[in-house]
Each structure stands twice: as structure tokens, then as C-alpha cells.
């Protein structure tokens, strides 16, 4: 299991502005930092964390987290929903699920194991969403 990154690293994703990889307060608790949606390479919120804030994220083009997400959590600061999507272009007519923001809604905000479905959507239980997320976006923002 890879070591979680602790420093804030600012990366540039071509065409989509800046995204920041956020630290988490504790390993494996699935409590994503305020304002972020989070993806983890391992079940149980383990492995490598990637958190996104204010970036219409796509993993397309070989980004290292494409099709490698095994658990997820969401904590949008002004956006109630975080969508995790099968297609790499945010189109929702294939597999997808959404999580609500922990701080804004306190419900449906994380899932430790995507193999048995997650959140709300066509990837809800009992579907298998493991290692299939290829894009993500915020919705229902204020």
C-alpha cells in the first residue's frame, strides 16, 4: 500500500486549470478535506489519495488515477453533489454515482468499497464501480 501524500501539491492538468492534491487529517477515515472530492486507489480509503477542488476533472489521457479508484468520499464546500463517472468526458449515460457533501448534507458522503456499488446512480449497490471511474465533476453548487 502506497504512502499517503502529506504535502499540498499543485498540479496543472492541461486545459482544465489547476488542481490541488489535498492532505487528509487521518489515513483511512474517508474524511475528505473541505471543498474537495476525493478518490483513493485502495478500498477502505487507503492507498493513494487524490483530492480535487474547483477543477472539472478528467482522468483521460493516461492520468495515473484513471480506472484505479476503489473508494471515494466527498466534502464539497459549496457543491452538494460530487459525481464519479465511467466515461472520461463526464457523460452520465453510462455508469456513474454521486456522493453528497459531508459538511453540507451529512449523508451519502463516502463509500469504502466500490466493488458493491456506491452512492446514488446506475453504479449504486449492487453494481460494481471498482477501478472504473474516469472523470468527475461537482454539481448542485451554490
Amino acid at each position: 500500500m502506497r504512502i499517503l501524500r502529506r504535502a499540498i501539491v499543485t498540479l496543472t492538468v492541461a486545459g482544465f486549470g489547476v488542481l490541488a492534491v489535498a492532505p487528509v487529517a487521518q489515513a483511512y477515515d474517508g474524511l475528505c478535506d473541505s471543498g474537495y472530492m476525493c478518490l483513493y486507489t485502495d478500498a477502505g480509503y487507503g492507498g493513494t489519495l487524490r483530492g480535487f477542488s474547483n477543477s472539472k476533472l478528467s482522468f483521460a489521457g493516461g492520468a495515473w488515477l484513471n480506472d484505479k479508484t476503489s473508494s471515494a468520499s466527498a466534502n464539497g464546500g459549496s457543491c452538494h453533489r460530487s459525481y464519479y463517472i465511467n466515461r472520461d468526458d463526464w457523460v452520465l449515460n453510462d455508469g456513474y454515482f454521486y456522493l453528497n457533501s459531508r459538511q453540507l448534507d451529512n449523508m451519502n458522503y463516502r463509500d469504502p468499497d466500490l466493488t458493491n456499488g456506491a452512492g446514488v446512480g446506475s453504479w449504486a449497490a449492487p453494481a460494481n464501480a471498482n477501478d472504473q471511474v474516469s472523470s468527475a465533476q461537482f454539481s448542485d453548487c451554490r
Binding site: 489547476v18 474547483n54 463526464w90 457523460v91 459538511q103 451529512n106 449523508m107 446506475s122 461537482f138 453548487c141
Partner: protein, 337 residues
């Protein structure tokens, strides 16, 4: 040629003005549906003509509907799925159920009652398809201004001045506070209701997968390739730079197969490019024809799975009724968005 919308993300009634009903000739068309190989398999897969006629008589729509006024594209699958408004009501009921529980224990906060902005009714299909869409969103997926900002879209409109809010919402209660603990316990108490309401809006049955695969097959068909070739020819004629890889892949996406199109930016150049795309789409009737291919692929599967899909819809309607009762019962705990 896949649309961008949240499944069912449009109102169940569509305005009469500006609607284009893309009508298919069902007999024979259904018997020759894509998704299989060989005429024999197509015939074996074709639904019973009587069942099809009966479904149509009962109000099942097997055509694609395009609404230029709203920017909505409605496929045959969509009426069976929750709209964005439905989804918001179901979420709100869960939130209010917990808020009422917390309020009874002295922890009072209000739940934003969400209207559903019209932007969520809009669809893109391989990029923008109306001039209004192109002028507002360029190649960006239609969404509210707030969502544009939330997703970091370059060129998103600035936020309006925020009036100070007197109401306390859940976001105002620190996550590590004793009050939040009370809220957590209330959510734990209403887990069953929450799970039911969430499941009701989650189409996880095999037919959802089949319909998605059918739409993909429609995208990959020879007919779709031919349609894309016509669009490409128009681009070249109009001096719009083509992204050859997108056409070779048979996957245009939000950038509509245009080199230099950026699904993360709205500016004058992107808008001008997007308007050019829409004009070419109009010229070759791309959107109607592409939508018809998806509808054609969906139609036989809907007929075949109609009982299960109706059961899903009924369960969803029952959940909506339950949710609306909860929302009405706790209207005093709602505030504006």
C-alpha cells in the same frame, strides 16, 4: 454520439413549441436494429410487433424528442428514470427527515429547498446543438453558473454579491461539534428510509446496462460513421479544424471532433467555434439523426424490458410521493437555496 445529460434530467412534459419529434418507422426498423451481427440474430432479437404496438398505444414513446427552446433531448429511456427535479426532492426528504429529528432534540438548522434550474434540462449530444447553447456554454457541458464556478470552468460568470444569510444550515454546524453528533445520530436513525429513497432513483438493473451498451453500439455503427463523415465534411468546408483522432475513434464527445475545442473554457474564440459547429450540425441534421439512432437502439430493449422498467418507474413514483409527504410535513425547516 452520446448525450451529456443526467439520465432523465428533464421535465416529464416538454413544451410544444420548438419540439421536433424524430419519428421512426418501427416495423422493419426494429427488426433490423443494431447491436447484433447477422440478419438472423437481428430477427431473433426483434420484439414482438404486437407488443410494440401495445406499448405505443399505452403511451410509451419510442422516438427521440428534441426541443430547440429548452435545449433538451429526450430519449425513449428517459421517462423511466428520475429527473433532476425528482432526485432533488428525494434528497431533500432525507435531509428534512434528519433535520426534524435533530430539531426535536434542540439542534435546529434549515435545509435549502432546491429549485431545479433550467440548465439541468439542457443536453449536449457530441457538443452543443443549439446556437443559444453554443453562445452561453461553447463546448462546456450545460450547467448552472454556480456549477461552472464549482468545476473551475475558465470564463465562468462571476458570482453575484451574496446577501448575508440569517438562517443556519447544516454547513454552519462544525463537523466535530456536539451538535453535529446529534445530527449524525439522526441520520443513523433514518437509514432505512434514506436507503429506500436512494435506491428508488438508482437504475442498477441489467436493462440499464443493456440500454447503455445499445447506445454505444449505435455510436459505433456504420450509419453513425457515415453521419460523422458528413459533419466532418461540413467542418472542412467551413474551415473548422478537425480533430482526426476523435473521428477515427468514433467518439466526438463535448468537443464535437473539433481541434482546439476546450470543454473547460468559455471565451469568445470558443463560442465562435461552437457556433460554427452548430451551424454544421444544422446543415447535415446531425443531432436529429444521431438522436434517432440512439432511440432506434433503445426501442427494442425497452419493449423487451418494459415490465421491469415500469416496475422501476412505479417504485420511483411511490418514493416520490413518500418524499413529497416528508417535505410537506417539514416545510418549516426549509429555507431558500
Amino acid at each position: 454520439m452520446i448525450s451529456s445529460h443526467l439520465p432523465g434530467s428533464r421535465p416529464s412534459t416538454v413544451g410544444a413549441r420548438g419540439r421536433v419529434l424524430v419519428t421512426l418507422v418501427l416495423v422493419g426498423t426494429l427488426a433490423a436494429c443494431t447491436g447484433g451481427t447477422g440478419d438472423d440474430r437481428a430477427r431473433d432479437d426483434a420484439p414482438d410487433a404486437a407488443a410494440t404496438a401495445a406499448a405505443i398505444s399505452a403511451g410509451v414513446v419510442l422516438d427521440a424528442e428534441l426541443n430547440q427552446q429548452t435545449g433538451a433531448i429526450t430519449f425513449p429511456l428517459d421517462p423511466f428514470l428520475p429527473t433532476k427535479a425528482d432526485s432533488s426532492v428525494l434528497d431533500e426528504a432525507i435531509l428534512l427527515d434528519a433535520a426534524a429529528c435533530a430539531d426535536a432534540q434542540g439542534v435546529r438548522y434549515l435545509v435549502p429547498a432546491r429549485d431545479v434550474p433550467q440548465e439541468y434540462d439542457q443536453d449536449a449530444l457530441d457538443g452543443p446543438w443549439t446556437i443559444a447553447q453554443a453562445e452561453r456554454f461553447a463546448f462546456v457541458q450545460p450547467m448552472t453558473d454556480a456549477d461552472l464556478r464549482g468545476n473551475g470552468i475558465v470564463g465562468a460568470p462571476s458570482a453575484p454579491p451574496v446577501a448575508p444569510r440569517a438562517d443556519r444550515t447544516l454547513g454552519d454546524i462544525p463537523t466535530d461539534s456536539p451538535e453535529r453528533q446529534v445530527v449524525d445520530e439522526c441520520y443513523a436513525k433514518n437509514k432505512k428510509v434514506a436507503a429506500e429513497l436512494r435506491a428508488a432513483q438508482s437504475p442498477t438493473a441489467p436493462w440499464m446496462r443493456e440500454l447503455s451498451d445499445a447506445a454505444t453500439a449505435a455510436q459505433e455503427s456504420d450509419v453513425a460513421d457515415g453521419l460523422r463523415a458528413e459533419l466532418r465534411a461540413c467542418y472542412e468546408q467551413q474551415g473548422i479544424a478537425v480533430d482526426p483522432a476523435a473521428f477515427d475513434d468514433g467518439h466526438l464527445g463535448f468537443t464535437a471532433g473539433v481541434a482546439g475545442a476546450d470543454p473547460g473554457t468559455i471565451d469568445a474564440d470558443q463560442i465562435a467555434l461552437a457556433v460554427g459547429v452548430v451551424r454544421c450540425k444544422d446543415q447535415v441534421r446531425y443531432t436529429e439523426r444521431a438522436a434517432a439512432l440512439v432511440a432506434q437502439a433503445q426501442a427494442p430493449l425497452i419493449i423487451r424490458n418494459l415490465d421491469e422498467m415500469r416496475a422501476f418507474r412505479q417504485n420511483l413514483d411511490d418514493a416520490l410521493a413518500q418524499a413529497q409527504d416528508i417535505v410537506a410535513a417539514h416545510a418549516d425547516l426549509t429555507t431558500t437555496w
